[in-house]
Symmetry: C2
Subunit: 447 residues, 2 copies
């Protein structure tokens, strides 16, 4: 029994993959019930599987209109899957971080504790409780604000407003991007109450638990912050500002997106889109109407994604930031990679490299296959592939008329995008082999 | 004097950049002469600069039709620039490899000599002589075959055939992709004499001098081959086969490309296109008529490019191969990255990582700007940006009607693509700083 448990701990990535696959299977079964649809007709297996995967992986891509197709039962199933997926990834990613640290020897373990300010194996229960409390509390606050706004500002009944508020709060905090409206959040494009509340929920959920926990403990002492927190905060702010400036500037005069709005609303919508690329996936403007350069900039931001061990997807800002530091050190000719006053070890570089290469490989292969399977252009197809891999959920609209083979490809890509980076970052590190001897060294030429 | 020389050797990347910039400046001046055009009218400065840069960087992108716009004088200038650029990059890259090895301490230097089978500083003259002899001999053989074919198979006068043969031989061996025909090599699509001869020249020139030299010395003893030669040969063959299969299969029934040809010619044309993506840039089929998935596959192959220290561009198969080995080691949980029976040092990984990140960054930024500057779709623009960065020269046809700002952007991208990877791979290694103390280590979370 003890042996079996320790065996499982040795391959936590399998636990994560198994857990997510199980949740998707249950979700598919429930969404296949006639009860789950508005019309009472059974949903096709591929669409049910697609929706369940999209919900559990908190992606938000949909092949059927969420509010129109599913019954209230179906919507609650989707909401439960989102909550399970979001809590699941946050808890497992945080725990795996602790576990990995625990197996790296005492010195590293202590350092890792200093990093994330988390406890070792003995504190698992406390970690899980903290994450659940943090999630539910955040969602409750967001739901309350939205409910009031929907009831007061849009003359909805309090019951209806509460249902909409809770749904969009959970969808936002878990970076899922599912909406009950067929136009997603486009009707709220000029409403700062809704947009800024949703944006705040997305940002907090996407920072990742280790960073939020460290900020809660020592937000007054930035000098004590770990490498993770420094990179995550710095890059989150930088990318949000950059995205806001780029989208607002490029789309400013586009009559089909920002051009139709008041000037102040254009900035709000530019900021909202910038937040949603990382990787929540709500939209308050029509994605299909964006200029190609905005679509491409969105591609890049979606691929980078949000913080580690949170509800965001993508390769994560930590991976991106570490690679940027490695590049900077190489250009400067520095022998080591230092962030703040800390040296980041070589094994960490290789993990980051592996994650970004796997991400590029998965997106490139999927893009090629989607181009072959459909008649859409690269603009839309690359956008769709990155949106699925980075669990974003934005789309130019091609999701609705994909052939089943392409839908299944996106199902696989969403699953890989959700558990892949975590797997590479952690589980592989656990089975680091030791060689009995080292081979003689030989430099190769590159470039 | 001695000091100045050693200062220059300390920054060989500056020598390379300065040399290429000088050649481009001279070429621009010559191509701006009225004498250089068919009509006797002066060519605009941006077009002259673009053509000179494209020739020196052996790219092959053109904003004016080479055979139609330029006089024989202009064509000879272009040919001289191609030859200077090709010989320049091959010589300087090979020498820098030796120089870098020379500064790494005795042990590494000896290993590096074993790698490339080249001599140290004392043998510079011999290395240069060998490269020039190898280039001229290869070009002479290719020119002879093409001349006979043009004269006998196409009823050209021997003088005309020889001129065409020499031009296309030099353009092929140096992976330049310039052609005197307005349809590039499309008229020869079913001619194996022309296509296979050009393909052979492109492959040999693109392998890189160190690999060719090692093969010439020890082709009978594969067990003795260096890491560079193993990776270059293995990946060259694998990517050529993969490209041939993909292009032939995808375009087989496309009436605007392979579909119009005899079945055996379809395979020939698929193979030819596969070779030309790495990174020669001739085309025997209409690039604009390719299916989007073929364009995208071409993007990937162009970005990877050919061998190091040869006339090919891109990040190089050595960089790509090393990163693949790093990824494989990480997935397997191996503590070291081994190729064959040799361990590749960590500094090498970082160089490869830096090259690929700079490449992706340059292509992504240029793609965004080209999308903003023009009305073309991502399919064409990404293709154009990668073609410029990887000094390929294939185009869907948008080069002819770009605004001047976009032309200048491509000029910069061609220059960066030609000298950037070499610079990162070598010059930066020379100014590796030593820190007096190491900072305390801290792992970060990624993924
Ligand atoms: K999402
Ligand atoms: K070329």
């Amino acid at each position: 029994m003890r042996y079996a448990a320790s065996e499982r701990l040795r391959h936590p990535a399998r636990v994560v993959a198994f857990g997510f696959a199980t949740a998707i299977a249950i979700g598919t079964a429930l969404l296949s019930l006639p009860l789950a649809t508005e019309t009472g007709h059974r949903t096709g297996l591929v669409d049910a599987l697609f929706t369940a995967t999209s919900a559990v992986c908190v992606t938000g891509l949909v092949t059927v209109d969420t509010g129109g197709h599913w019954s209230t039962f179906g919507e609650v199933v989707i909401l439960a899957l989102i909550q399970a997926g979001g809590l699941g990834i946050m808890t497992l990613a945080t725990l795996i971080t602790v576990l990995v640290a625990g197996r790296l020897g005492l010195r590293s373990r202590l350092l890792a504790q200093a990093e994330t300010k988390l406890l070792g194996l003995s504190g698992i229960r406390r970690v899980v409780r903290n994450i659940v409390l943090f999630s539910l509390l955040s969602e409750a606050v967001v739901a309350a604000v939205l409910t009031v706004r929907f009831a007061v500002g849009y003359d909805q009944s309090w019951g209806r407003a509460a249902y909409q508020g809770v749904f969009h709060a959970i969808s936002a905090f878990n970076n899922a991007g599912f909406s009950l409206h067929s136009d997603n959040l486009m009707r709220y494009v000029g409403d700062p109450w809704v947009c800024l509340t949703v944006a705040a929920a997305v940002i907090v959920g996407g920072l990742g638990f280790p960073v939020v926990f460290e900020l809660a403990r020592s937000w007054r002492r930035p000098a004590m912050w770990s490498v993770v927190t420094r990179i995550t905060l710095g890059l989150t702010i930088a990318l949000l500002v950059l995205g806001t400036v780029v989208f607002t500037a490029v789309e400013f005069a586009n009559p089909r997106t920002l051009g139709a709005l008041e000037v102040s609303d254009r900035v709000l919508a530019g900021f909202f889109h910038s937040v949603m690329t990382r990787t929540a996936g709500f939209n308050s403007i029509d994605i299909a109407a964006l200029h190609p350069e905005s679509l491409f900039a969105t591609d890049l931001l979606m691929f980078i994604g949000g913080g580690s061990a949170g509800t965001a997807g993508g390769i994560k800002v930590t991976t991106f930031g570490l690679l940027a530091f490695v590049l900077w050190s190489e250009v400067r000719g520095e022998p080591a990679v230092n962030v703040g006053r800390r040296r980041v070890p070589e094994t960490n570089h290789r993990q980051a490299l592996a994650i970004v290469l796997l991400g590029i490989g998965a997106v490139a292969a999927s893009t090629f296959l989607l181009l072959a399977l459909t008649r859409h252009s690269l603009d839309s197809v690359l956008f769709e592939a990155i949106s699925a891999f980075a669990t974003v959920g934005l789309s130019t609209g091609i999701t609705f008329d994909l052939p089943p083979a392409a839908e299944l490809l996106l199902v696989g890509l969403m699953f890989l995008g959700r558990i892949g980076p975590l797997t590479v970052a952690s589980a592989l590190a656990l089975r680091r082999r030791t060689r009995r001897f080292e081979l003689p060294e030989e430099r190769t030429i590159v470039g």
